[in-house]
Symmetry: C2
Subunit: 248 residues, 2 copies
């Protein structure tokens, strides 16, 4: 079926199923090959990137909707999702559908709630769809032009993620189960986009008390074998909920 027909067909359904005026956009980060990547999609025939998103069912909580949308796109369950901001400017998305009738669902005004997620790259199976090309992982330095206001949503997600490194742990699901301190530091450096001092990083990370030092070390290098660590899942979850209580 022609793309325009598919979108018009879906529109009728959407008016029945979803809550009007409100949508969800997801910024999904994964860590792979030493790079921070983000999940993007392209609408068929358009050369613009988009963030995976959707709408809230009339009888569904906001957070449930975000999980459902992400699961449908990625096949991954129990994804850690964090709401970061809501985008409500006029004409943030409406004009994208200007070639359609004014009664098209997608052409209405939507205030969009942004969620970001950190996922295990290896557990994601990208799902195919009639309207969009399949999602793909793209390194954040290689992103090209986004549709609608998705650049703004992406930028805000990344700046929030960077800020949250100060009061929440990160790394579980992004790193292998056992890792070295330099590997953890590398993850932070990639997210922050800057080099960190090794000694400061080490001290700060130990003070957070979320790591468990293992009785093994990484074998095989020419240098002294570095110690291996894993996350103490209980303490990690606690810190995820309560924050690090650093600062004042």
């Amino acid at each position: 079926m022609e793309l325009k027909k598919i979108i018009e067909e879906k529109s009728k359904e959407s008016w029945e199923i979803y809550l009007p005026s409100i949508s969800i956009d997801c910024v999904v980060f994964g860590f792979h090959d030493g790079a921070l990547k983000v999940l993007v999609l392209k609408m068929k025939g358009k050369n613009l990137l988009g963030l995976p998103g959707g709408y809230i069912k009339k009888r569904e909580n906001l957070n449930e909707a975000a999980s459902r949308i992400l699961q449908r796109r990625t096949g991954a369950e129990n994804i850690y999702l964090s709401q970061f901001s809501t985008f409500g400017d006029l004409d943030r998305s409406e004009s994208f559908f200007e070639e359609y009738s004014d009664t098209l669902w997608n052409k209405q005004r939507f205030v969009s709630v942004g969620f970001y997620a950190l996922v295990d790259y290896s557990k994601v199976n990208l799902v195919i769809d009639e309207v969009f090309d399949p999602c793909e992982w793209m390194p954040i330095e290689e992103l090209t032009e986004f549709m609608m206001d998705h650049q703004m949503i992406f930028d805000k997600a990344l700046s929030t993620l960077r800020k949250q490194l100060n009061d929440k742990p990160i790394g579980y699901n992004l790193l292998p189960e056992k890792f070295t301190m330099p590997e953890l530091q590398k993850l932070y450096e990639i997210i922050l986009g800057k080099k960190l001092n090794r000694g400061n990083f080490y001290r700060k990370m130990l003070r957070y008390d979320i790591l468990e030092k293992l009785d093994e070390s990484r074998k095989g290098g020419a240098h002294k074998a570095p110690d291996l660590y894993k996350f103490d899942v209980e303490k990690y979850q606690l810190a995820l909920t309560n924050g690090f209580n650093e600062g004042w």
Copy 2:
């Protein structure tokens, strides 16, 4: 006119003016008499506290709507408003209007965007309304039961404000133009709900580089007169926008 009639009358207007499914709730903090206070209202005849809120006009940006709502309630212009979270659980507000017809605007499902504001207590003129008793300032330790999910919205605003003390300045508009370091520390202690170490506070605050030390000191006490400071407005605004860039 009877309250029920007024609400039903307003409902008809609301369906025409506003975007469906989406609302705004504001948590407005002020500092007065050495206490952190919050602006609350009571619906006439109900003994529950509520947060001032409203809806978004069909042709109005989200942030503009929040400013308009707050200005109408407080008479104050140019209030620093910060979006902190969006609340979208089912039945968060609908059942509050159970005695009304299902077509009542207020009885619909609304996903609500929370904004918090820090205002100059002295510049606020509380505005009277037909549906609600006038807003009043209430010290945060004296708050009684809230309507709907407003306790959750308030709690989240306060915890966000506490966290943001770590990466944004606070105090401008809340303190008099000239203040001493102990006065600024007192403000932090009241917001955080805990005592702070004097030396650490002093060092951290100077490192933030947002204060200007004046050639005057507070006269009149038995002790050595404490130095007076004021905010360097330019640096303060810059830090408000960019954050303190502490942390990693």
